[in-house]
Amino acid sequence: MSTVNPLDAWAPPSARPEPHQLEPGHRGRIVVTIDVPEGCHLQSAQPAEPFLIPTSVELEAPDGVTIGEAVYPPAEHEHYEWTPVVLSIYRGTVEVVVPVEVATGVPPGPLSIVGRVRFQGCTEYTCLPPVELPVEVDLSIVPPDGPASS
């Protein structure tokens, strides 16, 4: 049995924009990161069985921003002694990439994008209830031909 309460081991997900600055009319992406503690795993975005909770990222589009479909990393497929089903899981650092596009009319300035990350974590000894955690990322909209444009 783990000596650590597994519910205490999960850090909140984080998110970063790539690039950090975007011009109106340009595309970028938001990278949402879930750090899975050592010895733990998540059900992947496409779990092996119904009712298991898929890892999912949903971002809310502010005015003038289009949010694309999230791209999830490839899953690992693991067989456990206690089930004939080969489970589809994530371990380690899980990065989910969400495309974003800023409309031409968006004024320069800071822009916050919020969303939710949902996943079901497991240790090697038990599975934990599904959680839904908030995530937020700050974009900087710069004038056309501004610094570090995409």
Binding site: M1, D8, F51, L52, E81, W82, P84, V85, C127, P129
Partner: protein, 169 residues
């Protein structure tokens, strides 16, 4: 009658202890009381819809436990821990369960059966646990999630039921 012996596990019903009566809603639309089944052995199985161990064991519960022992007088009660009616019913339908499925939305009843496990909340610690009660409602067998193969765990339960029901299977 106590069939198995084991070291004390804190925070749960002990072997030989009579389980306090409870009443929970069932996916059938009824409200069921444990005491409705006094006079019959009862297997209580704690599950959630998102529990992969529970899904792995689900066919065994129906085929190797319920169908095998129901005519001998066994009552199986599945308790969905902190789940609502719709998900509980969908899970039962998916697995073809024909025994009663109760749902314990706030986890209060389930928590009474939960062992103290490394800081896990009771509703997690009790998932995938089996309790076999004799006709008087006393615990004669219990086990908790332990990564043993689901079919091996089911065979342990069957051994208990064979003895309890006079090898009626």
């Amino acid at each position: 009658m106590t069939i198995t012996t084991e070291a004390t596990i804190e925070g749960s019903y002990e072997l030989g202890e009579v389980v306090a009566d409870f009443e929970l809603p069932a996916t059938s639309g009824d409200r069921l009381r444990l005491s409705d089944h006094r006079g019959h052995p009862v297997l209580i199985f704690f599950t959630t819809t998102w529990c992969p161990y529970c899904s792995a064991e689900a066919p065994f519960l129906e085929q190797e436990i319920w169908q095998r022992y129901r005519d001998a007088g066994l009552q199986v009660l599945s308790i969905q821990v902190k789940e609502g009616e719709a998900l509980a019913a969908s899970f039962a339908q998916h697995h073809g369960w024909t025994f009663p499925v109760l749902f314990d939305e706030d986890g209060t009843v389930s928590g009474r059966f939960a062992p103290d496990k490394e800081g896990l909340p009771p509703e997690v610690a009790v998932i995938n646990a089996h309790f076999v009660l004799d006709a008087d409602g006393a615990v004669v067998y219990r086990d908790f999630l332990n990564m043993e193969r689901f079919d091996a765990r089911a065979s342990h339960v069957r051994a208990v039921l064979d003895e309890l029901l006079g090898a009626a299977s």
